[in-house]
Symmetry: C2
Subunit: 612 residues, 2 copies
């Protein structure tokens, strides 16, 4: 761990997976029966090593060179082709993919331990790979046998890559407004696609032999709006008789965006059928496009959450390493004493406050995001009788985790830059790129505002608020009596107060909708989503703290004061700090929940009244 | 006003200067007796035009090309030399400078109306120019007659530029640790300077004929620490017998930093006396260096505050223009009605919330920062009997304004990017550069943490807390009874509650220092500085709202509902929105004050206990 290189927080990932959640229990369920706990351990170990020693090493050059459009083709930065090759040869692309097509079929909550670090160590490259896995998942989920056979294996082994083509210049957040058209070709075997898509991550590049675009389009005569949207498989090169890439399919890269960050990820404007000769192959049936998209959406949004987490985790470790080595100033408790020795800045209260805020944001996020992944595994593969409940938890927590990952991740990186000071503002240290790269997370895969609407207007209202009730039920196992230390007990009580305020806030939104109308009801939706994020991150941290108290007691038994033991014993230190991290979150971050409650309670809608 | 170009909020600047503060009253005081209100108006008008039509036009190219070190010399971006020339020919560099040396001698609170926009429209270029004015001010303030004659005029007319050379690799926040040495030369007329300085903005460039470095160094045998620091004038080229730049003075540009933003501002590592032949000329007397620095510091820190303001103001106007023109989605109040028309996104509650938050942050900052500039003018040139009081207000508010400018400015830009969505993340729109450029504000001229320590450990303690009492006294003129609308009255009451919480928080810090120690007392210093910022910004906005209520009543008299009148009448709209802006700040931003109070109240110091 140093101040310039990406490193994985292996110990905390193991803690969350094995001690907090117990993902190793998944081997009891089909289709994970062939795995052992040792397999899971090995995946984490090898994946983390790969992230640190391969992925991370081309992150900076990727940022410096970016992907560029040259004579109509996209050229990726030095080393990207080779890294892509290594990645797919090691099987990381298909880590959760269908084993029938060469995927490893690992549980998401196991795979996420690796995916967090891959995204964090090279966000630009991972964006393209992650979308390839997503596109393959769509074909695997909705395609016919012929389509699956033709595409899935080659995509999961990275010979080909994939994209999601939703947005158009007039249709971003409102995806129902797309105008790209599909005309049924005479022979019935394919459609002709015509339209221009933008914000296509990995829209073109030189790392794979073919690119399989999943394109949302409107079949002639389809109903207006969201209901008339279909999904098409549109390869860059059509497959020839042997299933190999053959003739060009009239997909043109019009331009690449010049972005603030993730510069190596080619974000393309693509023109489909400029010469009227672009073939698209319908997925499943006409007008199913949006429903298909939504099924994919949960996983895609969780992906963005762990982008924020992975980048922020790396930033925290860089900042901590820097704060330990950088000497500046004398301890404030020594005042202006003559001869006071300079100390490393980690000693200064303000710096410690920032570092612990980073740590708490990161570890709170890790708890939340991994839990969602675990619930997702249980919703699909766990005991039949509890699947519905876990799906509900996934549904309510996805927008929460997406926004928390994006915003807390960004906030953590911002603080990291502040810890480094001047050098943090230079591109010599990784914080600058991290800040630029992570900023996208609140914008793509649905902006924070869109997530918040999903939570407040859909998820909270579903089945009379049952999802929220199930979340409250889930969080009942953290209670003050379980705490050993008074500070942990107080933290749990404080958190419970916030939970009460959250309930009142949710009730207020309902009242606002009824008394004033939908505009007032959604006015603070983004704030309320933050509130949910803070309360749930606190929950996972407090649950962790209770576990840590027991572990620490075992280690420290008879050896004296826990903090003393923590100085020398690495495991004791981990648990001691975990407890302090939970306290810090509750007493120094969660208080912003008070502010959200006050905002909603004020019922002031000046912003809706202003004449803008 | 559009979504891609910088535009000045002339109407709001006029409001703050003339209606809120009444800076035109300064013509009653020496040395402003020769100015008229019309002069002030003209300066604002012309300066704003210059910012928009000259400064802003080379901002993007400056970012793209940056300043580069080529064969030992720094080359600035295309158009920078010409822009520098126009700037100084128009007299903007000496806008507050001593008229004896060609300065215009305008009050700071008048000049700031222009300086905000100059900094906002081209932060990189303005950084170099602003430091030149600062260096000239130091020589004007502390130099002998010969030094003043030799340097001040040429610096104020921009023939030469200036820098401040404080930091070294081992001495950043702890400036007392500098090691650069000064040896008295045999003849007694100069010193030989030896050492390496870094983070020198404008350290070298090609826009001026000479560069006058103000260098902090330690004379051989001087006391250790801050008390042994002296200030030297160190020109890049020594002056020959005719006062023109002559022989090279052995100042070498070692490298330029590669920064996240303000890329056109050359941030240099400078080596002084690498060959043992660098002449420095003592300013005033040995060991006065730090005291001289501190006298300059207040103004320099206010400069950073209006950097944040100027960039954020431009970002708000870009975002508002975009939100008015970008159509996306249908109104939520129309639900899924068939045939609902798409609307501009400014209509959506979440977007309005973000825009009004940007507006409130910007206008709150403008009130606070311009007030500090006005207090500063009165402290130096106002009625003798109140000068001390105004100096106290300046002293307590400078760290508050610096942090608020830096952090609220950054937050406003971040929100602006969110309003624009995907396009905001591209470098085609100005938000990306604005985000990168403005990030430096929390780091340079003393990090946010350093400002917070200044407020909490020095300013709040001075003379038994008298400065804080004077600030409270100053804010007593905003009372609920003065409000006309119930919403404004409630806002004032709500603000008064927060003010009470601030008093309690300040008292808590004192108790913490006595009961637990200095580490605990400063633990939340940065948060407390935010609290001060929020309460003071609210004050200036509420005072503005009271004024606006009267003006609006005059305009709307007998014409019906204020909001109706505001639709068509531009002046009415300005005042109506000003009232709503104050309400929005108090009910949607100020609540974070609750969170600070809770953090301090918790007395949890887990971050100090953790073993990091």
């Amino acid at each position: 761990m140093n101040s310039t290189e990406y490193s994985v927080d292996l110990r905390d990932i193991q803690f969350v997976q094995k001690e907090l959640l117990g993902v190793q229990k998944l081997v009891d369920y089909e289709p994970f029966g062939e795995f052992s706990e040792e397999d899971f351990d090995m995946v984490l170990r090898e994946g983390s090593k790969f992230a640190e020693s391969v992925f991370a090493t081309v992150n900076k050059i990727g940022d410096e060179q970016g992907s560029n459009l040259e004579n109509g083709d996209v050229v990726t930065p030095e080393g990207f082709k080779e890294t892509w090759r290594q990645y797919v040869e090691n099987g990381w692309l298909g880590i959760t993919g269908n084993p029938r097509f060469g995927g490893q079929g690992l549980p998401l909550s196991v795979a996420i331990g690796v995916m967090e670090s891959l995204y964090g160590s090279n966000p630009a490259l991972y964006t393209v790979l992650m979308l390839t896995a997503g596109a393959a998942g769509l074909i695997n989920g909705f395609g016919d046998e012929q389509q699956k056979t033709a595409y899935c294996e080659k995509m999961l082994n990275g010979t080909w890559s994939g994209t999601m083509c939703l947005s158009e210049s007039g249709a971003g957040s409102a995806v129902g407004d797309i105008t790209t058209k599909a005309f049924k070709a005479g022979d019935g075997g394919h459609y002709l696609i015509k339209g221009t898509k933008q914000w296509i991550s990995g829209g073109d590049h030189d790392m794979a032999e073919n690119i399989i675009h999943m394109v949302l389009a409107r079949v002639e005569g389809a109903p207006a709006g969201p209901k008339g949207i279909s999904m098409f498989i549109v390869p860059k090169f059509r497959l020839d008789g042997t299933g190999q890439p053959g003739a060009s399919n009239n997909v043109t890269t019009v331009r690449l965006e010049h972005k603030l960050g993730i510069k190596a990820s080619p974000t393309a404007v693509l023109e489909f059928g400029g010469s009227g000769d672009c073939h698209g192959y319908l997925l499943e049936a006409e007008n199913h496009g949006l429903a298909q998209m939504f099924k994919l959406m949960n996983e895609a949004r969780l992906t963005i959450a762990y982008q924020g987490l992975g980048i922020a985790s790396g930033a925290y470790r860089n900042a901590l390493a820097y704060a330990r080595e950088r000497e500046q100033g004398i301890p404030i408790e020594q005042g202006k004493e003559q001869g006071a020795e300079r100390v490393a800045i980690v000693h200064h209260p303000d710096v410690r406050n920032m570092l612990m805020t980073m740590k708490a944001l990161v570890e709170g996020l890790r708890g939340l995001i991994y839990a969602v992944a675990y619930y997702n595994d249980l919703a699909h593969h766990g005991p039949e009788e509890s699947r519905g409940r876990y799906q509900d938890l996934v549904d309510i927590l996805i927008p929460v985790a997406k926004n928390a990952g994006a915003d807390q991740g960004f906030e953590a990186v911002r603080l990291g830059m502040q810890v480094l000071g001047g050098v943090g503002y230079t591109e010599e240290f990784p914080l600058a790129q991290a800040l630029r790269d992570t900023k996208i997370a609140s914008i793509y895969e649905g902006t924070s505002g869109i997530q918040a609407l999903d939570l407040v207007t859909r998820k909270l209202g579903m089945r009379g608020g049952e999802l929220f009730q199930e979340l409250l039920e889930e969080m009942k196992d953290v209670t003050p009596e379980k705490a050993k230390a008074p500070s942990v007990r107080q933290a749990i009580e404080h958190w419970q107060d916030s939970l009460e305020k959250l309930k009142l806030t949710v009730a207020s939104v309902k009242n606002l909708a009824e008394e004033l109308g939908p505009r007032e009801a959604v006015f603070n939706a983004t704030d309320i989503t933050v509130f949910f994020g803070d309360v749930t991150c606190s929950y996972y941290l407090l649950k962790s703290a209770l576990l840590a108290e027991s572990r620490l007691e075992e280690i420290a038994a008879g050896n004296g004061d826990a903090r003393e033991v923590a100085q020398d014993n690495e495991e004791a230190r981990f648990y001691f700090n975990k407890i302090k991290t939970a306290e810090h979150y509750v007493f120094q971050i969660l208080p912003r929940a008070l502010s959200v409650a006050a905002k909603v309670q004020s019922r002031n809608f000046a912003a809706l009244e202003a004449v803008l």
